[in-house]
Symmetry: C2
């Protein structure tokens, strides 16, 4: 079982982006909090975010977000920098991210 080459440098930029998958990714409070903290447009490492779960659980949530195409991850030294896939989401589901962020950030 070989791993896609792209996964080593950049993940999350070429998925079909299914609406149910995106909605499911956003339907968990922890993941919603992550997305909310990523909404400043900057890149954040995993542990620079405030999450209330164990490290492995956090990694799991990032994977769900990645596989749904909500976030992208980039290796930087010993950190992984995450950022919201704003443009891709906006292209597939215009207005959705804004609507979610507007109410979850409050």
């Amino acid at each position: 079982m070989s791993v896609a080459v792209a996964e080593l440098t950049e993940v999350g930029s070429s998925a079909p982006l299914s609406l149910p998958a995106v909605l499911h990714a956003l339907s968990d409070p922890v993941r919603l909090s992550i997305v909310s903290q990523l909404a400043d447009g900057a890149e954040h490492s995993c542990n620079s975010l405030e999450v209330s779960v164990a490290k492995s659980t956090c990694s799991h949530h990032f994977r769900v977000l990645r596989e749904a195409g909500v976030v992208a991850q980039r290796a930087d030294g010993k950190c992984r920098l995450n950022r919201l896939q704003v443009q891709a989401l906006e292209a597939s589901f215009p207005g959705l991210l804004d609507a979610v962020l507007r109410t979850s950030q409050r």
Copy 2:
């Protein structure tokens, strides 16, 4: 086991409306299809909608949608008429329903 009185006339108009719950309700393809078919603003009975699952499964999905505050149900003769809770959703999560419907209806 007594049933709440309100359930016989009207359900779904006084819930706190949690964003994760709404997103979860919308994250299932069958429920997304139901919501999409309800998007004309009219009331539809359960079996007037095109769903690909058994009657009991359909009933289950309507319950999830109801409990999340996405739809409301009203008894009418031997039918239950369902309608989208457009105003309540718009009040709590402005733009969300539009964003979801715009892409799921296509």
